[in-house]
Symmetry: C2
Subunit: 364 residues, 2 copies
Amino acid sequence: MKIGILGGGQLARMIALAGYPLGLQFVVLDPDTNAGAGGLSEHLLGAYDDPALLAQLAEKADIVTYEFENVPAHVAEYLSSHTTVYPPAGALAVAQDRLLEKNFFRDLGMRTAPFAPVDCLDDLVRAVADIGYPAILKSRRMGYDGKGQVLIHSAEQLETAWLAMQDAPSIVEGFVGFEREVSIIAARRPTGAIAFYPLSENRHRGGILRIAECRSDDPLQTLAEDYVTRLLEKLDYVGVVALELFAVGNELLANEFAPRVHNSGHWTIEGAETSQFENHLRAILDLPLGSTRARGYAGMVNFIGGVAGDAQVLGIANAHLHLYDKAPRKGRKVAHATVRADSADCYRAALQQLADLALATDDS
Amino acid sequence: MKIGILGGGQLARMIALAGYPLGLQFVVLDPDTNAGAGGLSEHLLGAYDDPALLAQLAEKADIVTYEFENVPAHVAEYLSSHTTVYPPAGALAVAQDRLLEKNFFRDLGMRTAPFAPVDCLDDLVRAVADIGYPAILKSRRMGYDGKGQVLIHSAEQLETAWLAMQDAPSIVEGFVGFEREVSIIAARRPTGAIAFYPLSENRHRGGILRIAECRSDDPLQTLAEDYVTRLLEKLDYVGVVALELFAVGNELLANEFAPRVHNSGHWTIEGAETSQFENHLRAILDLPLGSTRARGYAGMVNFIGGVAGDAQVLGIANAHLHLYDKAPRKGRKVAHATVRADSADCYRAALQQLADLALATDDS
C-alpha cells in the first residue's frame, strides 16, 4: 500500500516514520530538493500544482493525503477525481478561508470571537465600531504562524492596517483576552469511529507555537470533544484534525482548525499510546484507531531558527529529539523535543530545561 | 552523519527508523533486492564480502555497524581499518564461536553449563561421559535460531549426532533444566557509560523466539547487570549488546551473547523510555544514553511465517504492529507486535490475544 503526500516537510516525514512499521510506502510531491521526507519516500520534485506530477502522484498512490491545508482547490479536485483523497476536499475549502471557517463554526453552534468580513476600509471601520478594540485584521486566506495578521488598538491604526492587507479579502475579529489556548486533536475513520486525544495547551510567541503540553483530565475536554465531533461529522471527515480553541473560564471559543496532523500534537509521538501520525494513517486506511491515552506527563518544545547540540538535548532525562533535516533559517521550525515522564516533577524539570535550550538558540 | 549497516533486514530497518529523528542517514549493504531497510536508506546491493561494495560502504559511512554477528573476520578487519566500526571486531570474533564464547564467559567468572570442545566422535564420547545426558551438540560457528544443534539423550545417539555436524568443529554442552530464559540488553558508550534495560523473559518454540516480556524489578536484574558489565568492559564494547542467560533458582548461567540489537528487546520500542535501536545509535555516536526504564508493562510477540491481518492486530487495545516488509516464508520472522499498558490485567489480556493470533498464522 502506497500513501501519497502533498508536501514533503516534517509532517510528511513523521507520517512516513509512523507508516513504515505498518508496512506502508510513501511518495511525496514537494518542490524542495531537500524535503525532509525525501529519504523516506519516493520524491516527486516540483510544484504542488504541476499537472504531470499530480497525475503521477494520483497514479502511484493508493490514497493521497497532505501535510498543509493551502492546497489550491483545483489540485484537490483533480486528485479527488483520480484517487482517494483524505481528508476530504470540503474540509480544505473551509480551512483555507478564515471567513468560511468562522461561519462554519458559528453554524455548528460553537462560540467564536465576534467577527466580520472586510473587503474595504469602510467595512473595517464599520465592523470595528461594533466589535471594539483591540481587534485583529486577518487576510482570509494563506495565513499561518501569525502571518497576514495586524493587531489594531485604536481608530488611528485602521487605515494602516487595511493598507497592510493589500486589498486581500479579509476578516476582522474581536481580540479575545483568553486565559489559555488549547487544541483538540481527533481522528475519524470512514466508518465514523472517532478517537480524541487529551487536550494540548499551547504557548505561542510571535505567532509561532513554542510549547504544547498534554492536559489529561482537563475540565474542558468534554466540551472540546463535542465541538470537534460536530466539525468531523459535518465534513464527513476522515483522518486527523486539529481544532484550536481559546479557553475563557468554562467556555471555549473556536479559533481555527487544521485538516491535518498538527504541531500541537507532536507530544503524542512518545507521550500517547498511539501517535497522531499513526492514527492519521490508521484513519485514512480505515484500520482500528489506536488508543489516544497519554502515557504519563508529556509535552513538546519547538526549536525555531536553530537547534541546540544533540548531546545537550539528549542529556536531559526523558527528552526525545526530533530533527527535521532542515537547514537553520530565521523563524524556521527545525526540530522539536518531547518530554514524557511518570512524575510531574521530572516532567516539569525536563520541559523547563528544554524550553531554556530552545530560547537560547531561538532567533525569532 | 551517515551510518553504514552491514545487513539491511528488519534490525537495520528499525535502527534506521530510530535514527531519522536524530537527523541520521543510512547506507546498508545487503544482497537482497527487497531488503526491509532498503526504502529507508541507500542500498548497496551485493554480497557482504564484496570488496568493491565494502570499500563504498567504508567511504560513504561515518560509522559502520551491523545487524548480525556472522561477519567474516576479514570483512570486519577491512572495515575497521578504513572507518570506525562499532561494536568492535573483537566482540564479533568471540560471539561467532561458541567455544570461544563459553571460555570467555568462564574466564570472566560467569557460570555456564558444563561444556567441552568436540572435533571428532571420540571427543564427543569422552566429553559426554563427563557431562552426562541429556547433552547438546552444537557447531561452534554460524548457529542461530536453534540451527546446527542436536539434542543427545543416550549413548546410542552419539554417532548420529556427530555425523549431523559434518565434521564441523563443535562444542557439547550439558542440558540445563532451566526455569526461565532471560536476556539483558545493555548499551555502552566509548566513554564507558553503560545503560541496562530491565530483563527480558523469553519463550522459544522450535529454537525460535516467540514471546519476550519486560521484567522490571526482577530479583536477578543485579546479577545480570554484573555479568553484562564484565563482558562490556572486557571487550571495550560500544553499542547495544544482548546477553542470553538461563535462570536456575537464584543463579544465572551465561548461554550466549549477540553483539547487536536483539529480538528479545523489541518491546523497548514502545515499552521503554528509549528503544534499544535509539540507544544503539546514541552509544555508537557517543551521545548521552537515553533512559532504559520500562513504561509500565511491556512485551512482544513474534509473527513467524505469516502475520494476521493488520486490522486484527491493531484492533487489540494497546497493540503496536511492526511489519518487516518481508514476504511470508515458512519459519521466517515477518513481523512482531508489542503491547504496552499501565495495568497488568490489560497487558496480559492483550499479550494473550496477540499470542493467539501469532499461533494461528505460525507455520513452523
